[in-house]
């Protein structure tokens, strides 16, 4: 899919996200792929906070706020309810943040995958609880400074690595799951399209930088979302029919140091900290290249 194939309609418009917000771009374009028959569920988090400020209601399609933990269970209910009413042509789609997915909503998501409910769950990952002012989530990467993982003399930001949500979800033997980045938009659009055509539970994990929380200029959101893939700290992959596939295998990685130092959340890192990040990247890619289809 390219820009030409997208619906000209705008379904997420007039919202109050910060200028240059990556999450809002993910939501906007996913809905342009899915179309007007999307029934969107948004838990507590930036995208619900910026989309529903009565009477400013920024979704053109049906959309509802769920409890923080309940994205997937509300999707299950909406799908079952519409089916019971005889509807056939619709997509129940959730847009939840990293905190709402990897921490607080993981149980409901796991249950939905277990039942293989016919829903699409999109996690827009900005790597922290942004809407409440940048707290660490399970998807905050090693070394990142947040208000709950500050950097000081002894501790340099987050001491734990990022949870491997894509593989956790895939390990349920889900119908379809994928990773993406808003910096590689066509790849993301293709995956949303593909997910819409598969029956069962679908999960897409899209990196969606937050200029406010990452400490980058608002004009750099898309560039940094490309760079995280190019430097190997994120990867574009799919899981389907019990197999992992790597979609994009960079011949050479761009600099991790350059990627990190552009963001104020990483600026405190020492050379030793950065070595840890590079080593864990290399170990991950060794496994990916050994075990996944390319």
């Amino acid at each position: 899919m390219t820009a030409k194939d997208l619906s000209k309609d705008e379904f997420f418009y007039g919202h109050k996200a910060c200028a240059g917000c990556g999450g809002s771009l993910a939501v906007r374009n996913a809905l342009k792929v899915i179309g007007k028959n999307a029934f969107a569920v948004l838990p507590a988090g930036c995208m619900s906070a910026v989309g529903f400020n009565f009477p400013q209601l920024c979704f053109a399609n049906n959309a509802i706020i769920s409890t923080f933990a309940g994205t997937a269970s509300m999707l299950t209910g909406i799908e079952a309810g519409l089916r019971a009413k005889g509807a056939t042509d619709f997509t129940a789609v959730g847009f939840a943040g990293d905190g709402g997915t990897a921490d607080i909503g993981i149980q409901a998501l796991s249950g939905a995958i277990d039942r293989n409910d016919n829903i699409l769950y999109i996690c827009y990952d900005n790597e922290a609880y942004m809407n409440t002012g940048i707290q660490k989530s399970g998807l905050t990467p090693f070394g990142a400074k947040t208000t709950t993982t500050p950097s000081g003399k002894n501790i340099h930001g987050n001491i734990r690595p990022k949870k491997n949500m894509f593989e956790i979800v895939s390990a349920h033997d889900i119908a379809y799951s994928a990773t993406a980045s808003i910096g590689y938009m066509e790849d993301f659009l293709n995956k949303v399209k593909k997910a819409c055509e598969i029956r069962g539970t679908k999960y897409i994990h899209v990196i969606a930088p937050c200029p406010t929380g990452w400490g980058i200029p608002v004009s750099n959101t898309v560039e940094i979302a490309r760079e995280i893939v190019d430097c190997g700290l994120w990867y574009l992959a799919e899981y389907e029919n019990g197999e992992f596939t790597l979609n994009h295998d960079p011949k050479e990685f761009t600099g991790v140091v350059e990627y990190l130092k552009k963001q104020s959340r990483f600026r405190h890192l020492t050379d030793d900290d950065i070595q840890i990040i590079i080593q864990s990247r290399d170990a991950k890619w060794e496994k990916i290249r050994r075990d996944w289809r390319r």
Binding site: F11, G14, G20, Q56, V218
Partner: protein
Amino acid sequence: MKPYLREKKNFGFSDIPGSTSFEAGYLVSVNSGWRSIKPVVNMEKCIGCMQCYLYCPDGAISIENKKAVIDYDFCKGCGICQKICKLNAIEMEAER
């Protein structure tokens, strides 16, 4: 189809449905006041490649007659479109 501006009225209880639901795509305020700089499209240089449209987080760009057109009511002036444009057809100018 897209959310659009309506009259901003003072909603009384009688206007609000019994449940916490309301008409979709109901807008009462613009975002133009957020900008300190604004993108301006050079119509000679623009070839309508749609990249700025694809990457605008606010959906404020549409392509009309093969040219990028910006909805200044909802553009926040982030400058992503200016960086994305390979033809340098967008320049950021100071808001005044």
